[in-house]
Amino acid sequence: MAQYLISVLDDTGDLATAEEEIAIDVFNEQLRAEGQWVFAGGLASPDTATVIDGRDGEAVFTDGPYLESKEHIVGFWIIEAPHLDVALRLAALGSKHCNRRVELRPFLGE
């Protein structure tokens, strides 16, 4: 089994609508029922982000996201799948249910 990150991309800044919320819940339930669910969550807007650099002595805090971009990650799933074909199918379903583009990326193997 491998784990994959499905990042939800959004360029509108709009929160999920009520219908989208319901669809996402349905998808989450399906993932749980199939034993493919690891974790999932929605994220607050990029404006609420803080960048922290603690590499060198006192940590430095910077307001805002580390990358200014039109498209942001607004949520994610971490799923478990035997191989990429299953992960692609789930990512396509996730995209459909949350009504946004998603990016699928494998976690590093051990």
């Binding site: 990429l84 074909d85 692609l88 494998p106």
Partner: protein, 406 residues
């Protein structure tokens, strides 16, 4: 010595894909499978001249490659557990669909939609076709180092993202097959117009392999029109192979070929496939249209009997599906036969195909027929500089040298 060299070369042509595919299933790792296959062939070069050629070269190569893989796993203690796991997996193959052919799995893995199209083509040519990186680079007008990186990156993605080594499920098949067909057609063309100086101008092993794999895909999806179309296209093209290169190794243009040397059996099979597709009443895709074009050509006993208006009508249909400059170039070649070289030249000029030898060869021929020798000569020069196929180069040089002096 030479004999053994020939045997090894033949084993490479015939057994490469099988060795890689078998190892990939057993080892669960495409990259190691390729590397070990290459090492096994290197061992054959060393051993066969001394020990003699084994009775079953394919089995010898697979066994040798597998032993090398096991040796390597033992050497790399740190990664041992992981590979042991992979090796164990091989003893319990996953349940299969209708088709159990390692080479077909290899094809579907190499043609996976999560890979960029150019990576799929390169990987399939390397893994299934057994072409070297320089040969692939040449076929796609790409630097060798860039092509090497492309293949390496694709293999890394297969491993990291766990692209599976399997024939897709029934529901996934139609979409996955489209990608496979594009790749198979490119392999066929690489065999039909082989690149590389000093190379055989036609590599029938590759055309035969492309046809074999296309037949397999057709067995899997007998109702798919495009699979049938591609198979028909390959058969009707392959049928003309013997007539296409002269005894002196020069390309023979379609209009000058000895049509008696065409393979009637392949033509009959190709025509039957095209007729069956026409009878289906379904809208044809690009391969079915190209097969129909080739059916028109192979229908004519003499080049003068060719139904050029039918050919142009088919290309019009194809342009609507795929308005690419190469399709328009081929349409223009037919236009030259029906409306004359001047009309055709107007359609050819301005196509963005400066780096494509056939563009310059077509212009050269049209200019020659219009008596514009000087321009024709420089177009031939451009074409000769770009053509990678020995037979084609010989043909172009003769044509150029036959031009009237200015």
């Amino acid at each position: 010595m030479t004999d053994v060299g020939e045997v090894i070369a033949r084993a490479h042509r015939e057994e490469w894909a099988w060795v890689v595919a078998t190892l990939a299933r057993r080892l669960g790792d495409l990259d190691i499978a390729e590397e070990m296959a290459a090492e096994a062939f290197a061992a054959a070069v060393e051993r066969w001249p001394v020990d003699g050629v084994p009775p079953s070269p394919g089995a010898w190569l697979t066994t040798t490659a597998r032993r090398k893989a096991i040796d390597r796993v033992r050497r790399e203690a740190r990664r041992e557990e992981k590979h042991k796991e992979a090796l164990m997996l091989s003893d319990a193959p996953e349940p299969l669909g209708a088709i159990d052919d390692d080479r077909l799995r290899l094809v579907f893995t190499c043609c996976h939609p999560a890979l960029a199209m150019e990576a799929r083509v390169a990987l399939t040519l390397r893994m299934v076709g057994g072409l070297t990186v320089p040969e692939i680079a040449r076929a796609f007008l790409v630097q060798e180092t860039a092509m090497g990186r492309r293949i390496t990156r694709a293999k890394e993605k297969i491993k990291a993202a766990k692209i599976p080594y399997r024939v897709p499920s029934h529901e996934e098949l139609p979409a996955r097959v489209t990608g496979v067909l594009a790749v198979l057609y490119l392999i066929f063309n690489e065999g039909y117009l082989a690149s590389g100086p000093g190379k055989e101008s036609v590599r029938s092993d590759l055309t035969a392999e492309a046809i074999r794999l296309t037949r397999l895909v057709r067995d899997l999806m007998p109702a798919d029109g495009e699979v049938a179309g591609l198979l028909a296209l390959m058969l009707l093209t392959e049928a003309r192979r013997a007539a296409r290169v002269s005894a002196s190794g020069e390309l023979v243009a379609l209009g000058e070929q000895d049509r008696g040397a065409w393979d009637r059996e392949l033509i009959a099979e190709g025509h039957a496939l095209v007729r069956a597709r026409l009878a289906s009443g379904q809208a044809p895709g690009r391969y079915q249209i190209l097969a129909a074009v080739n059916a028109v050509h192979t229908d004519a006993r003499d080049v003068r009997d060719t139904d050029w208006s039918q050919v142009i009508a088919l290309y019009d249909q194809l342009v609507r599906l795929d308005p690419s400059p190469i399709v328009r170039l081929n349409r223009a070649i037919a236009v030259a036969e029906l409306d004359g070289p001047e009309v055709a030249l107007a359609e050819v000029d301005g196509l963005p195909l400066e780096g494509y030898h056939a563009f310059h060869a077509t212009r050269a021929d049209l200019l020659r027929r219009l008596g514009r020798s000087e321009e024709s000569r420089s177009a031939y020069d451009r074409a000769i500089g770009l053509a990678g196929n020995t037979a084609e180069t010989a043909y172009l040089i003769r044509r150029r040298d036959q031009l009237a002096d200015p």
